[in-house]
């Protein structure tokens, strides 16, 4: 029987949404008959644990310590590797900013590699077979993980949570074997401001064009970018940069400013070839434009033909509701 340890993430006592994806992915690996235990590290009580059973967790282990008030990389890696060692065939984490850091540490403590940022999981003849994007998403690599335990991090937003009811019993106990956070101490967490990210680095780019009619209306674009979260950034077409509405650093489409974010939202941009050349390698493209004939729709995966002054605020509101 395959046993999988699903390592979940909480912030300020609330389970992060990636956790259900991790439980779902773990259940894929364990198979219907296998065992999935979830492990949460926290300073105190955590809300949202009761529903984990619905997604396939046999048991939820909460290990508490005051050091887990914030992310404590060294102690967290210690507790997880102690729990995993000898007891599980696989350890699964979410490849969030924290999970990327923690997964490598856990794997190192277990003296095995990490199969990072995985988007496909399966098993073949008793071994784990996973798929993961490489070369900036231009190819997918298939790996067989023979190391035990197999340590795997899952790319967020890929594994849609699937209901698979299990007992989901919760066992809370103090974490043992650690005195404090360790040598690396998170002393502060500062809020990040949306829009500070360079367009070429952002995971989501929301770009505005001449369809916005005047510079002040770019507030709509900024609000939409904020609704997508901190990895979103504001971009602009060349027309509005040249008109002086937006700084040059935001311009997408000129040579040298080629962007390929996971999501590109073009608002009020007709899609001059100059612009298309700079963004067409984005993974998913959304176009919002009044003109059904606009070339941007030829490269868009999803389009809304409509008045951006109605569509954009509605989209911002919908996204804001979603993230709550």
């Amino acid at each position: 029987m395959t046993a999988v340890l699903a390592v979940l993430e909480q912030r300020e006592g609330t389970l992060r949404s990636v956790s259900r994806e991790v439980v779902t992915g773990s259940r894929h690996l364990a198979g219907p008959a296998g065992r999935v235990d979830s492990l949460v590290l926290a300073a105190g009580a955590v809300s949202g644990l009761d529903r984990l059973g619905d997604f396939g967790a046999d048991a939820v282990l909460v290990r508490t310590h005051p050091a887990f008030e914030r992310y404590a990389p060294e102690s967290a890696a210690h507790v997880i590797s102690q729990a995993a060692s000898g007891n599980y065939d696989a350890v699964v984490l979410g490849a969030t900013a924290t999970g990327r850091d923690l997964g490598a540490r856990v794997a190192a403590k277990l003296r095995v590699p990490l199969a990072a940022d995985v988007t496909e999981v399966g098993s073949d003849d008793g071994s784990f077979v996973v798929g993961r994007p490489v070369y900036g998403g231009k190819a997918v690599q298939t790996l067989r993980v023979t190391a035990r335990p197999a340590v795997i991090s899952l790319r967020p937003s890929v594994f849609t949570p699937v209901e698979h009811p299990k007992a989901g019993t919760v066992d809370t106990a103090p974490a043992v074997g650690i005195a404090d956070a360790g040598r690396v101490v998170v002393v502060d967490v500062k809020p990040a401001r949306a829009g500070t990210l360079d367009v070429s680095e952002a995971a989501v780019v929301v770009s505005g064009g001449r369809g916005l009619k005047e510079p002040a209306n770019f507030a709509l674009i900024e609000e939409l970018a904020r609704a997508f979260g901190t990895t979103a950034s504001v971009g602009a077409s060349r027309a509005v940069v040249d008109a002086g509405w937006r700084p040059h650093a935001e311009q997408v489409g000129q040579t040298g400013k080629t962007v390929s974010p996971a999501l590109y939202v073009a608002v009020g941009i007709s899609g001059a070839v100059q612009h298309l050349a700079g963004m067409r390698s984005s993974k998913v493209i959304v176009a919002i434009n009044q003109d059904r004939e606009a070339p941007i729709f030829n490269v868009a995966d999803y389009g809304i033909v409509g008045d951006l002054f109605e569509v954009v605020p509605a989209l911002t509101a919908a996204l804001t509701r979603l993230s709550r």
Partner: protein
């Protein structure tokens, strides 16, 4: 101050990916290789710290095939003092094996700082740095976008979803660095000339395959034709599609 920078030679990010005849690796015809862009920030940070300290040494290390010498030479041209290539025929897919080779080489160096780029743009593994730290028994902070050093103590910032974590840790330490930490320099003419005479040691190593085997490499499925959503429910439908079909939310 003694600083090690671990770098990787990677294919250019603009490449058009084609799969080699073996069905599991990149077809390297017409592919340009160079220094991993995040490693440039690591090299620059090492050079600045050495310059700020007024004394010390920057050692560049890499694991890879013979061609990596060219990449290490470019790091020497930027200003590193010497370089070491742990030469293998091909990098194993198992990063733990790579980390062990680097840690073995670093064990005798007694560096104050060991720097990596936060990720390599070819395999996105993001793990060799923390693994080297574990093997050497020193603290590690990943994806550092700001760094303050005061004697044996350091404070670093790293970006997480929705915020910036501020971490305190003692030296020596391993850091993996993110864009934004600095602006890398261009190699100077003098630097390029000097690099020709700087020591570049090539040490052949044998690495085991490890616990990960590459079964295949394939191109992602082609883009489907776009879809226009309309009507009063358009926004809700778009959000649903982005969530459930495109999976980007």
């Amino acid at each position: 101050m003694k600083i090690a920078v671990c770098i990787k030679r990677v294919p250019d990010s603009e490449i058009r990916v084609a799969v080699a005849a073996d069905g599991k690796s990149l077809d390297e015809a017409a592919v340009k290789f160079g220094l991993n862009p995040y490693d440039e920030f690591a090299v620059e940070e090492a050079l600045r710290r050495r310059e700020h300290a007024g004394a010390g040494e920057v050692v560049a290390l890499s694991v890879g095939p013979a061609a990596v010498q060219e990449t290490l030479r470019s790091v020497l041209a930027m200003g590193a003092d010497r370089a070491l290539l742990l030469q293998v025929a091909a990098l194993p897919a198992d990063a733990w094996i790579v980390a062990r080779a680097l840690a073995d080489a670093l064990a005798g160096e007694h560096c104050d700082l060991i720097l990596f780029g936060k990720l390599a743009i070819d395999d996105y593994n993001q793990q060799v740095g923390p693994m080297v730290a574990e093997l050497l028994g020193v603290p590690c902070v990943t994806a550092v976008s700001a760094l303050d050093l005061e004697g044996e103590q350091a404070v670093a910032q790293r970006e997480i979803e929705g915020g910036i974590e501020v971490c305190r840790f003692p030296l020596p330490a391993v850091l993996t660095v993110d864009k934004g930490l600095n602006e890398p320099r261009y190699p100077t003419l003098k630097g390029i000339m000097a690099a020709k005479r700087k020591p570049l040691e090539v040490r052949p190593v044998e690495l085991p395959a490890g616990g990960i085997e590459v079964l295949g490499l394939r191109l992602p499925s082609p883009r489907r034709p776009g879809r226009i959503v309309e009507g009063p429910g358009a926004v809700a439908e778009l959000v649903r599609l982005l969530r459930e079909e495109a999976k980007v939310l």
